[in-house]
């Protein structure tokens, strides 16, 4: 199973998707060309390169206090955002007639982070060799790659659901609304669970002190 997920064709197809996103994402949905484990690895790499950029970018461009960088914490944040985005996109596209399965959404978004990862690594390396006036190189590399990544994700969502461009944008806006709703419900839930927990805990302490 895993050998199939990490087979040579899958890696090659990742590179093909990078250069041909429209076709690439279409066949990921329709003939199982994508690989979910590879998508997860890409998300992991993205969070690692994000932390690395904050920590290792050259002094000239980097104004981040290294004491505030915690790569594990950032990984949890990236993972939570990734899952939240995919779950809310899935719940919206289910209702609007999208063809993509949860697996395809996870794969498409994961593959879409690839250019951003490349940009972060590349700009981090470049940033160590630039002086003050050459900062533009750093921001251009980063900007282009982030734009490429976002376009990849949008095309990916469009292709796996077989949507038109307009419908994709509408569902994306709905996706963000769904994300907010999910966060709200999660907060509400955790709050209520906390209250129930406290209720039973206070019963427990009452019993402890009475006996």
């Amino acid at each position: 199973m895993l050998t199939k997920a990490f087979s040579k064709e899958k890696w090659k197809y990742l590179l093909y998707t990078l250069s041909h996103p429209v076709d690439g994402f279409y066949w990921i949905r329709h003939s199982e060309k994508g690989s979910l484990p590879i998508a997860f690895i890409l998300v992991l790499l993205f969070s690692a390169s994000f932390s690395a950029n904050r920590l290792l970018a050259g002094f000239v461009v980097n104004d981040i206090d290294p004491r505030t960088v915690d790569s594990l914490y950032e990984f949890i944040g990236v993972l939570a955002f990734y899952i939240l985005l995919c779950v809310s996109n899935w719940s919206v596209t289910c209702l609007t007639g999208g063809e993509g399965r949860m697996k395809d959404i996870l794969t498409a978004v994961g593959y879409g982070t690839m250019p951003i990862t490349i940009g972060l690594v590349l700009s981090t390396v470049v940033s160590r060799f630039v002086a003050d006036e050459e900062q533009a190189f750093y921001s251009i590399i980063l900007g282009v790659c982030v734009a490429w990544g976002i376009i990849m994700i949008i095309i990916g969502i469009m292709q796996i659901h077989n949507f038109s461009a307009g419908k994709t944008l509408v569902t994306l806006i709905l996706t963000f609304a769904a994300m907010l709703i999910i966060v709200f419900i999660l907060l509400l839930l955790s709050n209520l669970i906390g209250k129930v927990y406290n209720f039973f805990r206070s019963i427990y302490t009452e019993i402890i002190f009475r006996t």
């Binding site: 002094f59 000239v60 206090d65 060799f129 002086a131 003050d132 006036e133």
Partner: protein, 495 residues
């Protein structure tokens, strides 16, 4: 086992002795001062440093004698200044007198309570501010009598400045001078009560010429919007947008006026005004000249610093006195904080209500209105090193300052100014790698960038042959590869 024990016991004793001996010899001496000395680093964290100034003496009025008798305690004294000849003048406001002390503040040279006003005996009433010009003339803000008195160096009355008349003043305006300063051209600058328009300027002949250094009021768009939709009654109940008053004043030898003011946002508490009244002070990297950056205390410790007085020292260094938390903030001419020390309290060397600050040689003196004392602080090695190094930078030969900065680093490893200073020196000496290291520690991006660029050029120049031959090899390899591929393809095609 026995043998081991026999061996172990003396060993344990030896170790114990060594430990105890060490604890006794390694005697870490904390600075014996009742306050913290600190600074803010690049990321605005508090960074504690060795003491820059330590309390040296506390002078009470009752310990001072004039013609054999004690002059009695100062009563709410409000101002203090030094004359070019080294005398110290204290405006003893509550006792209606000005006390003239010698340079060491041990002898009383004169007590000024009455003076001869055109043949009539006249008295001082609540003298609030005092100042001596370069020529030795003495200026006293005689607040109760609503006038500024000018005396010659022998304390004979020379001139009275009172009742300024101008169209820009309200009809019912009462002139109550608080603080006074004089520049090299004998222009008189007066901070008066309820005078929100700025500092009042008087010409040499006592003629009022106008206001100076007015602090403009910033009204945000949001506030403007709310005022627009508010009714007249609501607007009347809103707080007024009044510019802040100036609190303290000093003049530097070039004739620029340093003036402190109370800020509500804690961004700028001191101004440097050029002869036309514009603020030309330089702000440091973080754009802040408002004293403490961390102001989230509780009770009376909450809120931005309130500067009440400023003293221009030398080489562009000036110190501001904060009455909120009793601290003294010293800045250099570029607006960098050099050191912060002082505090409120009841111990020797702390204040209750600091009102005026003055520099005497290597020491700083603060006048406390509640205690009626003059507290003098002496510079330490740490403070002196910083003062000297900053002075050298002000004069433009920072390379001379390296050794001093090195000493500062020995005393305070993370001092950013010292690291930057050393880095700049290495930069001009051509040691770019070392310069980069120190400039990064000093968090100075601009100079780091210059050092890095030169370092990069150097590396490229030294290894130019390697780079060029590398590029050549790559080109040759590419050509060979292409040819091979072409041949192979032709072969396949031929087959």
């Amino acid at each position: 086992m026995r043998k081991l024990n026999r061996l172990a016991r003396p060993l344990a004793v030896l170790v114990a002795v060594l430990i105890f001996a060490n604890t006794e010899t390694v005697h870490v001496k904390a600075d014996d001062v009742p306050y913290d000395t600190y600074n803010y680093d690049y990321r605005e964290y508090i960074h504690y440093t060795p003491a820059a100034y330590v309390p040296e003496s506390v002078r009470y009025g009752r310990d001072l004698f004039y013609e054999g008798a004690s002059i009695g305690d100062f009563k709410t004294p409000q101002d203090m200044c030094k004359s070019p000849t080294g005398e110290v003048l204290v405006a003893d406001t509550g006792n209606d007198r000005v006390v003239v002390l010698d340079a060491k503040m041990k002898k009383v040279l004169r007590i000024l309570t009455t003076f001869d006003n055109n043949g009539k005996q006249d008295k001082l009433g609540k003298p609030y501010g005092v100042c001596v010009s370069e020529k030795g003339n003495v200026y006293i803000a005689d607040s109760k009598n609503k006038r500024v008195l000018v005396f010659d160096p022998d304390y004979n009355l020379k001139q009275i400045v009172s009742e300024p008349r101008s169209r820009s003043l309200d009809a019912g305006f009462v002139f109550t001078p608080y603080k006074v300063a004089v520049d090299y051209a004998d222009r008189i600058y007066v901070i008066a009560q309820n005078m929100f328009e700025g500092i009042m300027v008087f010409e040499t002949d006592g003629q009022f010429t106008g206001f100076f250094g007015t602090i403009s009021v910033d009204i945000s768009l949001w506030e403007k919007f709310w005022r627009r939709i508010a009714t007249k009654e609501e607007r009347a109940n809103q707080k007024l947008f009044i510019p802040t008053e100036f609190t303290g004043i000093d003049v530097d030898p070039e004739g620029f006026i340093y003036a402190t003011n109370i800020t509500t946002d804690g961004i700028q508490g001191v101004r440097r005004l050029n002869p036309s009244g514009q603020d030309v002070i330089k702000k440091g990297e973080n754009g802040n000249l408002g004293g403490d950056l961390q102001i989230s205390g509780t009770g009376s410790y909450y809120g931005p610093s309130q500067f009440t007085d400023v003293v221009y020292r030398k080489n562009g260094i000036y110190s501001c006195l904060d009455r909120k938390r009793g601290r003294i903030f010293t800045y250099d001419h570029e607006g960098n904080l050099l050191y912060i020390f002082g505090g409120l309290g009841t111990q020797v060397g702390t204040f209750q209500m600091p009102v005026a600050i003055e520099e005497f040689g290597n020491s700083l003196s603060v006048l406390d209105a509640t205690l009626g004392t003059i507290i003098t602080f002496n510079v330490t090695e740490y403070g002196n090193c910083i003062n000297e190094a900053v002075g050298l930078r002000f004069d433009g030969d920072e390379t001379q300052a390296v050794q001093i900065w090195q000493r500062v680093l020995e005393l305070d490893e993370n001092n950013e100014l010292a690291n930057t200073g050393i880095g700049k020196a290495y930069l001009s000496a051509g040691e770019y790698k070392k310069a980069m290291k120190y400039l990064e520690l000093g968090m100075n991006r601009d100079y780091y960038s210059i050092a890095y660029k030169r370092y990069r050029n150097e590396v490229l120049k030294q290894n130019a042959s390697w780079f060029l031959s590398g590029v050549l090899v790559l080109i040759v390899a590419a050509v060979v590869y292409k040819n091979r591929r072409k041949e192979r393809r032709e072969k396949i095609n031929a087959d």
